[in-house]
């Protein structure tokens, strides 16, 4: 069984703008869930709610592990993590950035070191452990942010366009890391991406949002090959201009 998140009729308002308008959905546990939609449709807001960075104005965000509900709190937050589009690294070395979350989880020094170096090797940043985070390029920083998330072995991984800063090789490395986590650890992945090729490659389930609403979701094969909604169809065929 894997940790997952579901939204029950969630609304989130910024000023007069409704970023989310009565969204309900459940992300498939232990699967890669791809969240699609044009800019401003509410994808990032949904991830922020799932990561406890914001609270819904109306509705509920609920976590479960199998059939069991999981109460919100620090223990739950340490079973998940979020990687955002623009990587945020602390003003210290790459190693210190990597070990931060592991230390919070009470890992032993030896194990932390091993996990950090394994993760950095995996993203091709094995020689950067001692480098200052501020000295990294945007792509390198994003690789470190991905490695930092991998090192935590999260049960729920939330990704907000994590490969938009990466070159093709970096993008491929990222997809390998994501598959490894999902297949080996059973991590539930919720990923926002604008890259439809990437979405097709990774998705087990796909979700399409438009105007703050969840328009359609389902099994990836059916979603991409025979979408039910005309809006979804226009979006995945590239006809939707926005």
């Amino acid at each position: 069984m894997s940790l997952t998140v579901e939204l029950h009729d969630v609304t989130r308002v910024y000023g007069k703008r409704e970023a989310l308008a009565g969204v309900s959905c459940r992300f498939l546990p232990g699967r890669v869930n791809v969240l699609l939609g044009p800019n401003g449709c509410g994808k990032t807001t949904l991830l922020r709610l799932a990561a406890f960075l914001e609270a819904p104005d109306v509705g509920k965000v609920v976590f479960s592990d199998g059939d069991l509900p999981v109460a919100p709190g620090v223990a739950l937050m340490r079973r998940m993590t979020l990687v955002s589009q623009t990587p945020v690294l602390f003003n210290t070395t790459v190693f210190r950035n990597m070990e931060y979350g592991l230390q919070l989880r009470g890992g032993k020094e030896r194990e932390i070191k091993s996990r950090v170096f394994d993760a950095l090797e995996l993203v091709g940043m094995g020689n950067f452990a001692g480098a200052r985070a501020a000295s990294l390029s945007g792509g390198e920083a994003q690789r470190v942010a991905i490695a930092r998330a991998y090192a935590l072995r999260p049960e729920l991984l939330l990704l907000d366009e994590p490969s938009s800063n990466l070159d093709p090789e970096g993008g491929s490395v990222f997809e390998d890391v994501l598959r490894k986590l999902n297949e080996e650890q059973g991590t539930t992945v919720v990923i926002v991406t604008h890259n439809l090729f990437q979405a097709r490659r990774l998705a087990h389930a796909a979700f399409f949002m438009y105007g703050g609403k969840m328009v359609e979701w389902g099994d990836a094969t059916g979603f991409f090959n025979s979408p039910e909604s005309a809006l979804t169809s226009k979006f995945i065929s590239g006809e939707m201009v926005f």
Partner: protein, 231 residues
Amino acid sequence: METILNGFIKASGLIVSLDPELYSIILLSLKVSGGAVLISSLAGIPLGAACALRRFPGRRSIVLLLNTFMGFPPVVAGLLIYLMLSRSGPLGFMGLLYSPTAMVIAQSVIVFPIVAGLSWSAAASVTPRIRETALTLGASGFAVDWRVISEARMQILSAVIAGFGRAIAEVGAVLIVGGNIAGYTRMMTTAIAMETGKGSFELAIALGIVLLLVAFFVNILLKLAQGGFSR
């Protein structure tokens, strides 16, 4: 011009010969200003950080007061402390007037708003995304605050150094509450003022050179803290 030149020559002699009077004044100055900065930092950094990171009633008023008192005139601070510590004042029974402790208190009153105000500014300028990242990595409560403060550590160090610079160069308050007593409460700035008044420039110039050197090293530390040398 000859007076100044002679003053410099004799001042160099005092510095090189480790003149006891000169060095006791320097040591007292460093002790008093160091003590004031220590007290101000222990109280001011947590207060500044709390105002930046927490929401509580009166927070805005505290920040407003800190910003106002950052420019607190030292003589006014000296006068207030004098009135508090004088025999007829509320704290007169402690017998602290004209003692190094009184000078530490007076300088603390001047330096505290500087350290607290600049610490608030430093912590408040850390992007909210640092806080959010710490949360998404599993931090909670004080661990999140500590992460934000760690990000602002260089600016907070700058605040402490700026406070020390203000304290070591301060003359009005320590003169009022310390009394400039030879061998007891005489500091570099008060000694310079007195020696200049007497027309005895050697010691004044020697102390002036040391004061400038201290200011120079404080500046170097400030630049180092801000990463100025790596740019």
